[in-house]
Amino acid sequence: VITRLIRPTRRLFRVVLTGMTLVALTSRAQAQSQSCDLPPGNNKMCAATPAVTVLMNVVATTRLEMVSSLTPPNNDLTVADFSAGFKSIGTVQLTAKSNAAASISISSSTNPSGYSGVSWSTDGSHFTDPSTLFTTSGATAGLAKSITFRTKLAWAADAPGSYTQTINFTISAP
């Protein structure tokens, strides 16, 4: 049902975009001046190859797709988890497609009182909570990164209860 609703809108957008492009190109072409002089009485065709310069302003564009597979603890923490100081809660897959350099960073909302919050790693083993996850040095057709998350646990800090926290993934141009 949603696809049915979206498809006509996409088609309309495509038609409008194509029309705008043609108008722009025509305007540019008309601005080029061409001359072709024929001697009087010469009825041959006057051929001239117009030189058309098309100027395109390509903006830096980046698309970031995020798929979360996080499974936060749901009343299933064990003594072993507390003893370890953490519990693994899964990964978030980030895929960047870009025609320019871009930086992808992470932040989390303030830890709720009674909860130690999350820790993350870009390599799955070093949980150093880097704020910058990765950068695209230039154009990329699809740079994928997996970010691994843990919930931190401490006996005296993580009290029984339900806690909600937001993790933000921010993409920015340098």
Binding site: V59, T62, R63, M66, V67, S68, V92, V118, T151, S172
Partner: protein, 169 residues
């Protein structure tokens, strides 16, 4: 009775709803630059239950010979409690010993509390979470009346003591 069109329509709606549900659980999002910066979000809800643990430490016979350690012998035990909320440390006997009886000695009154297999006796409490709270306890063990009764060794006593930590009321 439903027509074929109605059935097809209902099926499509069901498929669409299932797709939406899966997307919601996967928390998939896309964002595009410009404008810069742009962000996507993941919201997690963590539910933590009461979690408790006790590490059983040493159990050694002490040299006290006065009441409440006479008759029999007294033993000093150490344990370490871990809890993420208020707690109670309890002890019981894993089985009824054949040759001796055991009592937990409440301090500072030196009041003996006989232990019965399967019935837990609270021996310490804490009003808040603790990463590692050491708890000391003293026990008195005495031989049973009749043939075969004997004061246990520390290891024999340790073998029948069983601890647990529960939430404080």
């Amino acid at each position: 009775m439903m027509s074929r069109h109605s059935l097809v329509g209902a099926s499509l709606v069901a498929v669409a709803l299932i797709s939406v549900s899966r997307d919601a659980s996967a928390q998939s999002q896309t964002v595009t630059l410009p404008p810069s910066p742009a962000a996507v979000h993941v919201t997690n809800t963590v539910t933590i239950g009461g979690t408790f643990s006790v590490d059983v430490g040493s159990l050694v016979q002490n040299t006290l010979q006065a009441n409440p350690c006479n008759p029999g012998a007294c033993y000093d035990a150490t344990t370490t409690v871990h809890a993420n909320r208020g707690w109670q440390l309890q002890v019981t006997l894993s089985q009824t010993p054949a040759n001796f009886t055991v009592a937990w000695i409440e301090k500072p009154q030196d009041a003996p509390h006989p232990l019965v297999a399967g019935i837990y006796q609270t021996i310490a409490t804490g009003s808040s979470a603790t990463p590692a709270q050491g708890v000391s306890a003293m026990y008195n063990a005495n031989k049973t009346n009749g043939k075969g009764g004997a004061v246990p060794t520390a290891s024999q006593l340790a073998a029948v003591l069983s601890y647990r930590v529960i939430a404080s009321p």
